[in-house]
Symmetry: C2
């Protein structure tokens, strides 16, 4: 249960081919050919075009029943059939971070159904969250999704629903990277 640092490095190398980089809100990220997700790394690989940093850390909002259900149904990363992935870096506004914990939680789940929506896409869409804010990183969150090509519509529905929530009104920067790897 210690924390694990992560680096996402874009450039000419990496397991994942970048098909598309979409700036959903705010500044985009520069185009690149490939992306590597490197857990345990804290320094950028040489010749990276750009690098995003984060930390796999403790959960901030989930209750015991939600957390138990998530752990019961969520799959590991790296399934052979998961040849598609999406990385969504996000930053939220000062107004969000200035809210007390109970009000952030109420927006996150009671009014936006963040956990419930995510559970609806499990186990098809595997997910891992990294935190960047305390690091002073470029994004507050880096969320990584993996799924089989035939589950892509399920993923699209999930992010479409989340973007229509009250929680997403606090998102000031969001980029979506569509990725694939060889089977």
């Amino acid at each position: 249960m210690g924390v694990t640092p992560v680096i996402f490095a874009a450039g000419e190398t990496g397991e994942w081919t970048i098909d598309r980089i979409l700036a959903v809100a705010g500044e985009p990220l520069a185009p690149a050919a490939r992306l590597a997700r490197i857990e345990g790394a804290v320094t950028a690989p040489p010749r990276a075009r750009w690098v995003l940093r984060g930390t796999r850390s403790n959960e901030r909002y989930t209750t015991r029943p939600e957390r138990d259900e998530l752990r019961r149904v969520q799959p590991e990363l790296g399934r052979a059939a998961s040849t598609e992935a999406v990385l969504i870096p996000i930053s939220k506004s000062d107004a969000w971070w200035d809210l007390p914990q109970d009000e952030r939680r109420a927006i996150f789940e009671a009014r936006s159904g963040h956990v419930t929506k995510g559970l609806g896409a499990l186990p098809a869409v595997a997910r891992r969250l990294y935190h960047g804010r305390d690091l002073g990183a470029e994004f507050d969150f880096l969320t990584w999704f993996e799924f089989a090509p035939e589950e892509r519509a399920r993923f699209d529905d999930l992010v479409g629903e989340l973007r229509r929530t009250e929680e997403w009104r606090y998102v000031v920067r969001e980029v979506e990277l569509r990725l694939r790897r060889d089977p």
Copy 2:
């Protein structure tokens, strides 16, 4: 409301004279003559004997009424009469960090009265919390306290009470540094 990094650097220089370093639980910190608290810094000053890193970040447990009350009564740091300070670096166990948010909150306030006890010492004891865990820093938390010498007993009562709480059973490492500066 952005995050602010902090470095505590111990050595031969710094505003604060170190009177005593007490290892309350786990490994101690090495003796040093003086301590500097440097907000905004991310790299260690040259010739520091040791350095602790953290981030001033958003609150993790307080509700709206608690947060409003804290902001109403808590003083700024740097009051002229506050010639004493205490730095308490703490790390909590894996068992703590593996608890879901609702159970950590219940231990923190409902069963340990962390906010209530802290409010009882305000405005005499000014306090600032820094987070280190996501950074992979040496301690999960660095808490800084400032007060006038005649308020020392109030501070001692506060930390004594907190150390007897259920929350403190999850503290696996704790060091207490007693500091003073010239008026």
